[in-house]
């Protein structure tokens, strides 16, 4: 009698396993084309048939929110591309690419920042490719010298402050002012989570001034002392709030902190603030969003050709110009730069700080680990 019980239970388990395998796979496949068909305009569908090679590309990005992914899918369809965009945070995209390295799912990656790009290169996750025709139009020093990625969008990472509370003369000129000048103690924001791209660019911008091969993790003692003070005199960010929320909140002392250039423009609009930003003599770090090919795609000839065609198209001055108009980005392509917002263009005229991104990429995790363990309250 136990036999029946056992058999039935086993059958139930098997059934459940099979059921999920079966019901799950086709369902989305059925839904997906339907959804696309309703969204895409009829002429786009026709265009797909005439223009496209029919090869589907999987694109990973951290720059797909606010409808960017949908815009890209539709816009690309007009040119005959079939793209599936997977959007997630920069760190998550990095981890996925590392985790899937043995059998990559993505064909093309765009977005991210120089630190992550260099980490991916060192892990052999990207494959170098011949420069697309627009590569020469990109501001100098932003493309990867070895051809692993080419820049499409740039963001200056600045120290922004509330110009209603500080005049340009009173405001800090560079990051070290924050801890060296007592007037700024307790009124600037420091991040609690060190995983964000902007935060890591700021830390890289500070620590790379103190590189010393003999120091701990390649940084001199002076450098670590500076970072310690930076965190000691700052106000730890409240989680789930952004700098501008704290700026407009009269109960909070915070009036300055790190911000990316398009953020300055957007948040000023949203919160009705007027921002000023420090213009350091050494320049500012730039978060470079690039576009690269995932190692493995070169083994599939049709895919490889299509991926290259996609890169050639997406990075062009025309598309990056449209992208900038639509989403307020600052194109790395100088021919498209006029399409960007004037304030942002002004911020992005600050020269780029000279940073060895390969060194940063190799060390940033350890630096952040040390800071989290030793210098954060």
């Amino acid at each position: 009698m136990k036999k029946t019980l056992a058999l039935l239970l086993a059958a139930a388990m098997m059934l459940a396993l099979c059921a999920c395998g079966k019901t799950e796979a086709p369902a989305p496949a059925e839904e997906a084309p339907a959804a696309e068909a309703t969204e895409a305009a009829p002429e786009a569908t026709e265009a797909t048939e005439t223009l496209g090679t029919g090869v589907e590309l999987t694109v990973y990005t951290n720059s797909g929110s606010s409808g960017r992914d949908a815009w890209l899918t539709e816009r690309a369809a007009k040119e005959g591309f079939k793209v599936v965009v997977l959007e997630d945070g920069a760190g998550a995209i990095q981890q996925r690419l590392i985790g899937e390295a043995a059998n990559p799912i993505a064909d093309v990656v765009y977005g991210l920042n120089a630190i992550i790009w260099n980490d991916l290169i060192s892990r052999d996750i990207l494959v170098a490719y011949d420069a697309p025709s627009w590569a020469s139009e990109v501001s100098e020093g932003l493309n990867n010298a070895d051809g692993y990625y080419y820049a499409i969008v740039k963001q200056a990472i600045v120290l922004a402050y509330d110009a209603a509370k500080l005049s340009p003369e009173e405001a800090p000129k560079d990051w070290p002012d924050l801890w060296e000048n007592e007037a700024f103690h307790g009124i600037y924001r420091v991040e609690e989570k060190l995983t964000g791209g902007t935060t890591r660019n700021v830390l890289a911008g500070i620590l790379c001034r103190y590189l010393d091969p003999n120091g701990e993790l390649g940084v001199s003692e002076e450098g670590w002392a500076a970072i310690e003070k930076f965190f000691q005199y700052g106000v730890v960010a409240e989680s789930e709030t952004n700098l501008y929320q704290e700026m407009v909140d009269e109960t909070k002392p915070t009036i300055m902190g790190q911000m990316w250039s398009s953020g300055v423009v957007q948040y000023d609009n949203e919160f009705g603030t007027t921002s000023g930003w420090a213009i350091p003599e050494v320049g500012v770090p730039y978060a470079v969003e690039g576009i690269g090919l995932v190692n493995g795609v070169q083994n599939d000839e049709a895919k490889y050709a299509e991926a290259l065609r996609f890169i050639e198209w997406f990075g062009s001055a025309e598309i990056q110009g449209e992208w900038a108009e639509q989403f307020g980005t600052m194109p790395a392509n100088e021919k498209a730069a006029e399409k960007a917002d004037a304030v942002q263009a002004e911020i992005c005229s600050i020269p780029a700080q000279d940073i060895d991104w390969a060194v940063v990429a190799a060390n940033i995790d350890d630096w952040c680990e040390k800071i989290t363990l030793e210098y954060m309250q």
């Binding site: 036999k3 056992a6 989305p28 965009v85 996925r96 350890d366």
Partner: protein, 574 residues
Amino acid sequence: MKAKLSRFWKDLTPGRALIAVLFVWFIMTCIIVPIVHLLGTIFLADGSFSLEPIHKLMKSKKAMNSLRNSFILGPTLSLSVGIVGIFLVLVTEYFDIKGANILRLGYMTTLLYGGIILVSGYKFIYGSNGFLTNALIRIFPSFNRNWFQGYWAVLFVMTFSCTSNHMIFLRNAMRAVDFQTVEAARNMGANQWTILRRVVLPVLLPSLFAVTILTFITGLSAMSAPLLVGGTQFQTINPMIKTFADSTNSKDLAALLSLVLGMATMVLLYIMTQIEKRGHYMSVSKVKTRIVKQKINNPVVNVIVHILAYVLFAIYVVPVVLIVLFSFTSSKNIATRTLDFGSLSLDNYRYLLSASSNYRPFIVSIVYSVLAAVLISVIIVAACRIIQKRKDTLVAGVLNYSLMIPWLLPTTLVALALMLLYNQHHWYMFNRVLTGTMIIMLIGYVVIKLPFSLRMTKAAFFSLDNALEDASRNLGAKGWYTFRRVVFPAILPTVMAVAALNINSLLGDYDMSAFLYHPINPTLGVKVRSLTEDLTNANSTALTFVYAVLMMIISGIVLFLVYGRGSQDNTQSK
């Protein structure tokens, strides 16, 4: 020995062998191999094991403080949640309190939402710019705005958010109390307090133990409450684990810290199991009668209990009401906490439901959560039956603890473990690469919810009256028939409750989804994250509130399907 062995072979029917094979395969390929493989990659990254991570952690004041805080929060939270939870169950199920049905609905709101949404709701009221804080400042201008911060704030928020398990499992147990025992005690002259302490409470003990341990674990691994209201004084270890787990090179620290928490959890579970073995107090009556609600005799106590019950009701309900109301406003209103009834509009909802990319994640998450919950139920019921039948054998022990293993690691690392192993083909996974398929996230969802489900379902199996099963067999019923008609109906409420809780908590999952979701099927958690980090959409905060409300509605429907019918049965039986 020989006899034992021959019995073993006699017992080993083809069906059993199949079940055994399935379990061994599942536990090895979905739990043990991925996790061992992951730990190998992180700890032996340079080819040899190093004590370096331990030194790093010992040296860090912050890490040690966080660890200490977690171990302070665990026990104190068990205590405070225990007190509140028992009070809630007594008020709604045992004592005669005016408006108990409405109170119950209010107390159950924590089942609808949790984590970050709930803490944000509390912050809306008590935070430095919250409603209550502002009101207090109007009365006492010198009042400290940042009063709601640190240990007490964390304890307060978590005490009220962690009573969900009490409201489900302790309530189920309370309904199993035999009223005849209460009456008998009263006839023998016992007063209300004595009856409560000596008659009612002992019956609740198995469930109470189980939920207390769960609360302890929740306290140890607290995440959103310390982050949002802990301030710099009271940070716990889990946010730190999460940070390190998200960082490509610091995974050794994340794994080490979570192993410390995991070991503590395992010790607790071991103690639990030992206590469970000591036996249970159970009504010997075979014809139980349902509890008749008790009026509190002492008038003063009665009034106090009523007041407390309604104060608690307000604490539970106000955050929910605020979240719902603010979902009809703009982000700016949310940031400034101004509620203007004239400006409420459906715009957010209209926006959200206008594009399929906005509501499709709901469908994806619902499908995944339901499938996962069903699979978990099948696995866990089978496992519990084996553990119950083979009590005190090695098989039961191994099965029990191996299903608990996922508790040793944070979700992020479990996801990574699956991803890192199955990005290549292995014979034991039928030579298939799982990354990039739809199935891998389902496996992940199932694996992370196994420990909780096993813990709660086992408690139900243990409080089962063996005599019922014996009676069924004596009447000639076969094993499967007995299970189906006698055992299963008795544990069904718990199985359903566990499934409902699993569905509700998987609905908003981000940690697992982030690594494993299929490109064309983003889940709700992924969508909400992308919204909260959305820079160009001025109304993103408001939209996250809308998602929260929609999630609450789905959770509400799920709970109604489980409990709505249950309560109808009750009214009929009355």
